[in-house]
């Protein structure tokens, strides 16, 4: 079992989230069925499953997942349950507010959905990153999101050597700053 867990982890680190697909399809029905004890709403349960898979993925990227200690399925269930319970608690509080002013409830949900992760300046940076070329965007994603080392980026993107990677990364960030300056 541990070997399988380790193989999955290695695939995730090498291939990215695509390596999750077999696990995703294997445990999804059981997850959705299990979470019925918390809510009958299928959309909320599916959302919890997505959040749990994403959380597990990022746990692996951060180097925190130990394949010897627990199986991926266990981790996903734990994370999904925690997310669901928290979300239901929050929404119950806000549903109470809905009887007072539906507009403030809607405002809260939209703010939470769109702005909860990003401030105004972060939105500007995100939009600027999306304007960069594909290679720059991928490089930044590998470095900042998938937590790749310079060496790993060199192998993945087939650069000549690590210096070329560092130099390209600096150019991408310089380009990003130019886009941001042009906007301000």
């Amino acid at each position: 079992m541990t070997n399988e867990n380790l193989k999955l982890l290695e695939s995730i680190l090498q291939e990215g989230h695509q390596a999750l697909k077999p696990l995703y399809q294997e445990i999804k029905p059981a997850f959705l069925k299990y979470m019925q004890r918390y809510t009958p709403d299928p959309d909320i349960r599916l959302d919890a499953f997505h959040e749990a898979m994403l959380a597990f993925y990022e746990y692996c990227l951060a180097g925190k997942y130990n394949p010897d200690r627990s199986a991926p399925k266990t981790m996903v269930f734990m994370m999904g349950r925690a997310y669901l319970i928290n979300r239901l608690k929050l929404e119950q509080r806000n549903l109470y507010q809905e009887t007072e002013t539906i507009d403030s409830y809607i405002k809260y949900r939209v703010t939470q959905q769109y702005h909860s992760s990003l401030s105004e300046s972060e939105i500007l940076v995100r939009d600027a990153i999306l304007k960069l070329g594909d290679k720059c965007r991928l490089l930044l994603q590998l470095f900042f999101y998938r937590n790749y080392s310079i060496e790993a980026i060199m192998e993945n993107m087939k650069y000549k050597n690590e210096n070329v990677v560092s130099s390209h990364k600096s150019r991408c960030i310089k380009q990003l700053k130019e886009i941001l300056q042009a906007k301000s």
Binding site: H17, L54, I106, K107, V110, S117, L118, I123, I129, F144
Partner: protein
């Protein structure tokens, strides 16, 4: 003046949580330099923003996988008993049903494109030569959907146009959540429109049952603004 390579390396190690205790002290000391701090904040922002759009990519694939679930078949053996024959028939009916659903799903994007139109700005339509800064609904009319969703909402109508903007930006899930609220409010001016767009959202997402349910409710309501297109669309979906 640009930071040194060592300073950049220090910042990157901080982002990846790889600083030694000594390096941590060095970082705290360098933060007193405004230029260093500005660069550090920029890198933190890049990390957060990259995470944000990367997560959207991952979730997009999750949704694609939801449409892509494998069908498991149990082959019938030669010495079958009556219950095995019944089980085989159930599987066959299920496959036919799934094929119909896939046929519906493959037609769904075409039907959606046929029937979807942005909702008009009925509140304060832009007049020629108008030069004052546009309102939320005017920004919607100008198809500046990103701007719409970043503005503060002061009324339920604002929130409705925000929901439509999320729809345009491909955030069907959140658009559905908002539209469901408006579709239940009897006193809401655009309740009919909310129900219609909700049905279209379900169509786009391949949620057949919910789509048909809403279209049915709309089409049997004689006073509904979208009664005719709903009936027409329901007829087309029914024939798929």
């Amino acid at each position: 003046m640009a930071l040194s390579v060592q300073d950049i390396r220090l910042i990157e190690k901080h982002l990846k949580d790889e600083l030694s205790p000594e390096e941590q002290i060095t970082l705290e000391d360098k933060k007193k330099d405004p230029e260093f701090e500005a660069e550090l904040n920029l890198y933190l922002t890049i990390q957060k923003s990259t995470t944000n759009f990367s997560r959207l990519d991952v979730k997009k694939d999750f949704k694609a996988w939801d449409q892509d679930e494998p069908i498991r078949l149990n082959p019938l053996k030669s010495s079958t008993t009556w219950w095995k024959i019944a089980a085989g028939l159930v599987i066959l009916v299920g496959i036919v049903g799934l094929l119909n659903k896939f046929a519906f799903n493959s037609a769904a994007p075409d039907l959606y494109t046929q029937y979807y139109e942005p909702y008009p700005n009925l509140l304060d339509p832009i007049e020629k030569g108008e030069s004052t800064s546009p309102s939320l609904t005017q920004l919607y009319e100008l198809e500046n959907y990103e701007a719409v969703i970043s503005l503060p909402m002061t009324t339920a109508v604002d929130s409705f146009y925000v929901a439509l903007s999320f729809m345009e930006l491909g955030n069907q899930e959140f658009a559905t959540e908002l539209l469901q609220i408006f579709s239940r409010r009897e006193d809401f001016r655009f309740k009919d429109a909310a129900q219609w767009y909700l049905a279209l959202n379900f169509l786009r997402e391949g949620q057949t049952t919910l789509c048909k349910q809403f279209l049915m409710e709309i089409s049997i309501n004689e006073n509904h603004d979208f009664r005719n297109p709903a009936a027409e669309l329901l007829g087309k979906i029914g024939s798929n």
